[in-house]
Amino acid sequence: MDAISEIEVEGAALARGRYRARRTPATWVRNGGLSTLVFLLPLLFVFGAFSWYPIVRTIVMSLQHTNLVEAPTWVGFDNFRAVWNDPLFPIAVKNTAYFALLALIFGYPVPLAAAVLMSEARRGRGLYSALAYLPVVIPPVVAVLLWKTFYDAGSVGVFNTVLGWVHLGPYPWLQSASWAMPSLVLEATWANAGATVIIYLAALTSVNAELYEAAEVDGATLWQKVWRVTLPQLRGVLLVTMILQIIGTAQVFLEPFLFTSGGPANSTLTVLLLIYNYAFGNSLGGDYGMATALSLMLAGFLAVFSLAYMRATRSWSTE
């Protein structure tokens, strides 16, 4: 191979952004294979140690009896059976499903309506979105503990005070088994709705204005334009935010942990709280096998649910 054609080969390799000449360790180093690996090292180390390895480890641990003191022993599917037979398991599943359902009812239509209105404001859209997003930047612990004060049954309770002005209440926000979960969802919705609003606002900017004009030429009213143009144009984003919200709320932890510790009478015990209790709730030592088994069951359920959801909505989300 003469010098010129070698340069051409190298040039072509450069253009593709990779080097594939003769493959020996020496050429690999000279052609940048080693420096590429150096750049990948932080990623490989951090993901290997703190993401890929623990994922594999979860599966192993769910099949073992582990308590950090004795050597782990293989127990097959005993952990999964133990979780399945735990009387708290169906309660936690039911509560988590209830939380997710309430979160959809409280938190799904309002951000959409707000975003459509906000995107049509003639001025001050920045102010609207800043106000909507503000609760999202508040640290969740502060949000929960602040709302705990708002929900207080005593004289400091802001909600009962304000409702008292119009002769309503007092309501047992966190004290009653039937009120506790909606109260938790209300706070969670407040804390998260702003992020959804921003996603909708971004999606609304991509709606083709010509569709509105065409609808108008056909004599559509404003209301018809919202229902026949805006919402159908947003359905892709709407479907994604719905499944993401379900996946997120299925993993709710902070609200039940800090508001009620799962009470009263286990009415706010969620799956994640149960996982936490298995692993860390017992001061004598955690049952890590049961905790990992339940987390895998949750992950498996969410994967199957997401697949079924995508399959069921596929015909609807694309034209």
Partner: protein, 296 residues
């Protein structure tokens, strides 16, 4: 794209000429603004008021505005007596370290996968994408065990800040948005630099990093905010109260202090995220939109 750049499209000027639309939409906007102020700003204003109100006043009349004057001492007492100053500093150190790991991993990883593109890049990409589909809860227990009893190094990392800093870097979302940003940079720049004799390190320092300031800004803003908001993980791995960040300490502070001082502590915990949001509003809102675009 900023929302202010696009003119309103749904409601046309013909619509605006109709009185029902003009007054109806106008009224809806006023309601929305009032609602957003009450819901978005109200709780924070109440917290700010409570933080400088004597406890006894807040307890007896939570909605009254300074019936017996202000108690600025709440803030000082929270900072000094309840040690919020120390926990605040802990939070800053934790956020800084988590930010640094995330930036290093995302920038170098994104660069290697997008610009250098080794033959095994596809495999790493797939492994990164896969982690996006694994719920965070799956990692919780094995990560904790790994910190207590790490393999190879037989030394517990409980109460070490490395236990928070390093796992923070494993954010596939960061790597993917940075990689996408690099993918969209014109290839000609890299090729020209390579022809001029720039090696991969020069290319990274002199060309790619300066060009990637906008995306690294977005990653930074979210990295610091996420670290500031984090609760469960630092609660598990930092057991020494003197090392814990504010969010982990707040529930304990609540049970040990009077309400006014506690509200002051919570206000202090909010100040950095709120100030950061007001300063970097564009990055925040663009990043959230980006998240939506990626998810969509």
């Amino acid at each position: 794209m900023s929302n202010d750049e696009r003119p309103p499209a749904l409601i046309t000027s013909a619509d605006w000429r109709r009185p029902t639309v003009r007054y109806g939409v106008g009224a809806a906007h006023v309601l929305l603004l009032v609602g957003l102020i009450i819901v978005g700003l109200g709780p924070i204003l109440w917290l700010a008021k409570g933080a400088v109100t004597p406890t006894i006043d807040t307890i007896s009349h939570p909605m009254a505005l300074f019936p017996h004057g202000a108690a600025w001492s709440n803030l000082r007492r929270a900072w000094v007596e309840v040690d919020v100053g120390r926990y605040f500093w802990n939070t800053v150190v934790l956020a800084f370290g988590s930010w640094l790991t995330q930036i290093i991993v995302a920038a170098t990883g994104g660069y290697a996968l997008s610009v250098l593109r080794p033959s095994y890049a596809k495999l790493i990409n797939a492994l990164l994408l896969a982690t996006l589909f694994v719920p965070a809860v799956v990692l919780l227990v094995p990560l904790y065990i790994e910190i207590v009893k790490p393999p190879i190094v037989h030394h517990s990392f409980i109460d070490s800040y490395w236990a928070v800093w390093l796992p923070a870097g494993a954010s596939a979302f960061n790597v993917i948005i940075v990689k996408r940003f690099f993918d969209n940079l014109p290839r000609e720049i890299f090729e020209a630099a390579q022809i001029d004799g720039a090696g991969p390190f020069t290319l990274f320092w002199k060309i790619v990093l300066p060009l990637s300031k906008p995306i690294l800004g977005v990653v930074s803003v979210f990295a610091v905010l996420a670290s500031w908001k984090d609760f469960l993980w630092p609660l598990l791995v930092l057991t020494d109260p003197n090392k814990q960040p504010l969010s982990v300490r707040l529930p304990t502070i609540q049970s040990q202090t009077e309400l006014g001082v506690f509200l002051a502590a919570m206000l202090i915990a909010c100040l950095v995220p709120i100030a950061g949001f007001l300063i970097f509003q564009r990055s925040f809102l663009r990043g959230s939109g980006l998240g939506g675009a990626l998810k969509g």
